[in-house]
Amino acid sequence: MIAKCDKIGVDFPDLAVTIGNLVLKNPVMTASGTFGYGEEYAPFVDLNRLGAVVVKGLSLEPRSGNPPPRIMETPSGMLNAVGLQNIGVRAFIGEKLPFLRQFDTALIANIFGETIDEYRRMAEILDGAKGVHAIEVNISCPNVKKGGIAFGARSESAAEVTRGVRGETGLPLIVKLTPNVTDIAEIALAVEAAGADAVSLINTLTGMSVDIEKRRPHLANVTGGLSGPAIRPVALRMVWQAVRAVKIPVVGIGGIMTASDALEFFITGATAIQVGTANFVNPASMLNILDGIEEYLNRHNMANIAELIGSLNTDT
């Protein structure tokens, strides 16, 4: 199938992928927390070109977030401890969703709760919100005291949250996993069994950085989540482990800056990818990544990205 053709003689490969019953026109999504509510980037990026916009993590009630300093640059990466500052799910639907609805891209609401009941209530609210195409369940934020990673670190609680949300909505569910666990495959299997349509990984790795002159942590929260190219090999390894464990799609996240980074994830078996920290460095990163993926598929005579996904050859 020819998705579009705007250069003479060049057929663009089919980039569409499916998650649950949601068809994404291409597999490049924003990573939650790095793209605001979309409006921040709209002056710089044509949102219509993106496979999906995953919005900043939402909670049932607004959260003011952690005190500053909240970020610190580290070698090939950055630490953040924003603490899920957000306007709350109801204000999102009332104030932000109408803007996002005008774009031809899938909208994925990322939700976070301190209790399973909060997750369920948000899923219920979002289920009826016009323009929300899927829910990403964040059980992996390292920067909040309650909830988040506390659910994602164990199979039982990860499954319990997934089941709770599943019971409230028919929307496709992507469960976002933390890398700060002993066995990612076990957690991925548990949420798959509990009704997840996909898993996305990895959220940030817990990290820390110290100002040696002041002998103080660089972040007010002391620890933060490490993102950026520094974590990419770890992310890729965990995607590899998850892909081998589950049958549902795996969405790869972690330090993807360029098309070649993204291609590593597809070859390893990721059905889609999310771009996070790269958006901070260059707001147009995702468009460059998309162009690069198309160019690669054309160069390798692949008409469909499905040919590439999971094509990793591990023969020795």
Partner: protein
């Protein structure tokens, strides 16, 4: 939908040391670069370099538009690895620039007197305000413009040569090597009672202790004051929420504002109630 050019590559024309640890970088950019408003900033990094990962937010020091290109000047202090690498860049090198970004200064119409209060490299956005903001104000230009400029010592008073003749310059240094000996807020304190609040506006930029002192000094006056703040940023466009500053104060729930998008210029009294602008520096 109108799409901005996300990032632009510019060529460095000049990058010279203006004072110990301070550099003035001049960049040539394509005419498509939007004209910055005084107080706005750019996110800048060396082209093609992926380490350090993030661009650095730097205020516009000056900007000029020519036939087929424009020229952007940024004045920066070497404060860490990123700016240290900037200082090693040479003419002919390329930098990527995102901007102009943020909410700049607003010059109220019809005021009689504009006061500029700068500490150290804080002179940069105020320099641009003097040159661009006042010039475009035309007939609305304040009759009197006084620039209070402070630095640790004489050699660190940077930007002076480009302000001389444009406003009434009142200088001070911590060591007394030029002008008044003491902080820049001392000089303002001496004069403040002479200024009619309805006819005066203050524009300030400088280190956090200076901003705090200024806040105390203005506590019992009605003189409006806009202040440009600085924070670490990842994106510069309001998405990462890394550059948060606390506003609120006693009895009010803490709220955060983004320096990049809600600022970098704030009404001093909006951020004042919390008094210590919550940063690492004042928790020493």
């Amino acid at each position: 939908m109108h799409e901005k050019i996300a990032m632009m590559t510019g060529e460095i024309i000049d990058n010279r040391c203006t004072a110990p640890g301070h550099f003035l970088m001049t960049l040539r950019l394509a005419s498509a670069f939007e004209t910055p408003a005084p107080g706005q900033f750019v996110m800048i990094r060396e082209a093609g370099r992926s380490d350090p990962l993030l661009a650095r937010p730097i205020s516009v020091f000056d900007f000029h538009r020519y036939g087929d290109h424009c020229v952007l000047e940024i004045l920066y202090r070497v404060a860490g690895r990123g700016t240290s690498l900037f200082s090693g860049m040479r003419s002919g090198d390329e930098a990527t620039v995102l901007g102009p970004l943020g909410r700049g200064f607003t010059l109220p119409a019809g005021i009689g007197r504009a006061l500029f209060v700068a500490g150290g490299v804080g002179v940069a956005p105020l320099h641009f305000l003097v040159h661009s903001g006042l010039l475009t104000a035309g007939a609305q230009r304040p009759v009197e413009t006084i620039f209070y400029l402070g630095a640790r010592s004489r050699d660190l008073l940077t930007g002076v040569e480009r302000l001389d003749g444009f406003c009434d310059l009142r200088m001070c240094t911590d060591d007394g090597s030029r002008g008044h000996r003491g902080p820049v807020t001392d000089l303002l304190k001496r004069d403040i009672d002479d200024y009619d609040p309805s006819q005066t506006a203050i524009f300030a930029c400088g280190p956090k202790p200076m901003i705090r002192t200024l806040a105390c000094l203005l506590e019992n006056t009605l003189i409006p004051c806009q202040v440009s703040l600085e924070e670490r940023m990842a994106c510069g466009i309001g998405a990462c929420l890394g550059c948060a500053i606390a506003i609120g104060g006693p009895g009010r729930k803490t709220e955060y504002r983004r320096v990049c998008e809600d600022g970098p210029v704030f009404d001093l009294r909006e951020i004042l109630p919390t008094t210590p602008i919550d940063t690492q520096e004042n928790r020493k």
